[in-house]
């Protein structure tokens, strides 16, 4: 029953007595759902806005790759508003994401799942979970993951409900990575190249992609004036 699942999930997330956080939610996912790690990606206007939390380095990389490439399980889960299941990324019959897949595989990801974060009709982003071995989630794990996604989505809104208008709730800003440095770099590149900021963002992405680097990495190079595009 959904009520029992919810109870179990809240118990696991609350053990240890630390205050609730999105990171705790992610770190509870291996025990709750039997995955290797989890991350929360916030999205709006059809694009990733940033990573709210991740349970481990690989999950963090999964988020960064999706932010850099603009594709992956979270992007699909959010845009298509459905659960995305990829039980074996290495299966050549299923190369779903041309840029994301090889890089995720290299990081040790074998199975990956994206669960939309939604409250009613409101869509907030997606919860990603990965496994370092191929395989589907069991029905039970799948049902648990849906409840975790639901709890996460409500938690995000609950946090934001305390914030003054026009500002981001502190709880959401602390620990979250909204890639502000990428936007700093885009501002700089726009002046350097005499192009719009939007165009500068595209150039930064293209550069990161061609050099097989993460966007945040390229942005930091630009900010430190070690790197110039063009």
């Amino acid at each position: 029953m959904a009520g029992d699942r919810l109870h179990r999930i809240l118990t696991v997330v609350s053990t240890g007595g630390e205050p609730w956080s999105s990171t705790r939610l992610c770190r509870a996912c291996p025990e709750l759902v039997g995955v290797s790690g989890a991350g929360i990606m916030l999205m709006s206007g059809d694009v990733p806005r940033g990573s709210l939390a991740a349970s481990d380095d690989v999950s963090h990389l999964i988020e960064d790759l999706q932010y850099t490439m603009g594709e992956g399980p979270c992007v699909d889960a959010y845009q298509q508003d459905r659960v995305v299941i990829e039980p074996d990324l290495a299966d050549p019959a299923a190369p779903r994401w041309l840029a994301f897949t090889p890089r995720a595989l290299r990081a040790g990801v074998r199975a990956i799942f994206g669960f939309p974060l939604r409250v009613g009709a409101v869509r907030l982003g997606a919860l990603n979970m990965y496994r370092n071995a191929p395989g589907l989630l069991s029905d039970d794990q799948h049902a648990d993951a849906l409840v975790v996604a639901e709890v996460t989505a409500r938690w995000v809104l609950e946090m934001q409900s305390g914030a003054p208008s026009r500002t981001l709730a502190r709880e959401l800003e602390i620990g979250a990575d909204f890639h502000f440095s990428v936007h700093n770099a885009a501002g700089m590149v726009s002046v350097q190249e005499g192009i719009s900021v939007t165009e500068a963002l595209i150039r930064l992405r293209a550069f990161a992609f061609s050099q097989d680097r993460l966007l945040a990495d390229v942005a930091n190079g630009v900010i430190a004036r070690r790197l110039r595009l063009g």
Binding site: S44, A121, L157, S165, R166, G187, V189, V191, Q192, V197
Partner: protein, 246 residues
């Protein structure tokens, strides 16, 4: 199909509607229509409390003026108001019996051809939301079995209203969240623009942006947007603001 099957199907249909995005007025109008087709009421309406506390009609089985007027009256007196205030069912009342609890309402109802009616409160736990009103051209009370169904309709209506309000609130919070994030992104981009134009680091760039906005009493986000769009004189950034920057 039997009537019971009709009722069950109606309830399931309405419960299904609740799952996704839905129009609460549509749902409540459908519900009032079902009160007429399935429960033998001559007319039905749902009244909801407005934020100021007054009752307003939100859905009715017909748009006939005489019926709308009857509901409007109930902002002052009538079965809806009583059911809403007490949170209890207002029993079948024969308007012609004289010495009605609601003299103005009863007289108007009779003039409009209605002889009896009852009202069920719409409430969820402690929250009183409004009332469902059934009106009849007959004097006889509605059968007990129909009342049970009406009660289920009223509960479902209450649930739909509460869910709708929660969904509107979620929408508002999400817009606020992405709006706040967008403002922040614009500011970060402007910091990059200023940092490059003035050849200062990002912290200094932000301090110049802020000083510029404060001195002219402009919103930070607006100045940041202007910096990105290049609609401000780029030289604005090359002169440092007053005071040491951090």
């Amino acid at each position: 199909m039997t009537r019971e099957a009709d009722v069950v199907r109606s309830l399931v249909e309405m419960a299904d509607t609740l799952v996704d995005d839905y129009d609460v007025v549509d749902l409540l109008t459908g519900l009032t229509n079902r009160c007429v087709t399935l429960l033998g009421a001559s007319a039905a309406g749902v009244m909801l409390a407005s934020p100021s506390g007054g009752l307003r009609l939100i859905a009715s089985s017909s748009e006939a003026m005489r019926l709308l007027e009857l509901f409007e009256l109930q902002a002052q007196e009538g079965p809806c108001l009583d059911a809403f205030r007490t949170g209890e069912k207002v029993e079948h009342d024969n308007f012609e019996a004289g010495a009605s609890r609601w003299p103005v309402f009863a007289a108007t109802a009779i003039r409009s051809g209605f002889r009896s009616g009852l009202a069920l409160p719409l409430r969820l736990r402690d929250a009183k939301l409004g009332a469902l009103n059934l009106l009849s051209v007959a004097r006889e009370p509605i059968p007990e079995a129909d009342l049970v169904v009406a009660r289920a309709f009223a509960d479902l209506a209450a649930l739909s209203i509460v869910q709708h309000r929660a969904s509107v609130e979620a929408q508002r919070l999400n817009e606020q969240l992405s709006g706040a994030l967008s403002s922040r992104v614009v500011i970060e981009q402007a910091k990059g623009v200023i940092s490059e134009r003035a050849e200062v680091n990002l912290a200094d760039a932000f301090s110049r942006l802020r000083t510029f906005a404060r001195q002219r009493n402009l919103r930070l986000t607006d100045v940041a947007q202007a910096a990105i769009d290049g609609t401000l004189d780029p030289r604005a950034w090359t002169t440092p603001g007053p005071g040491p920057s951090r």
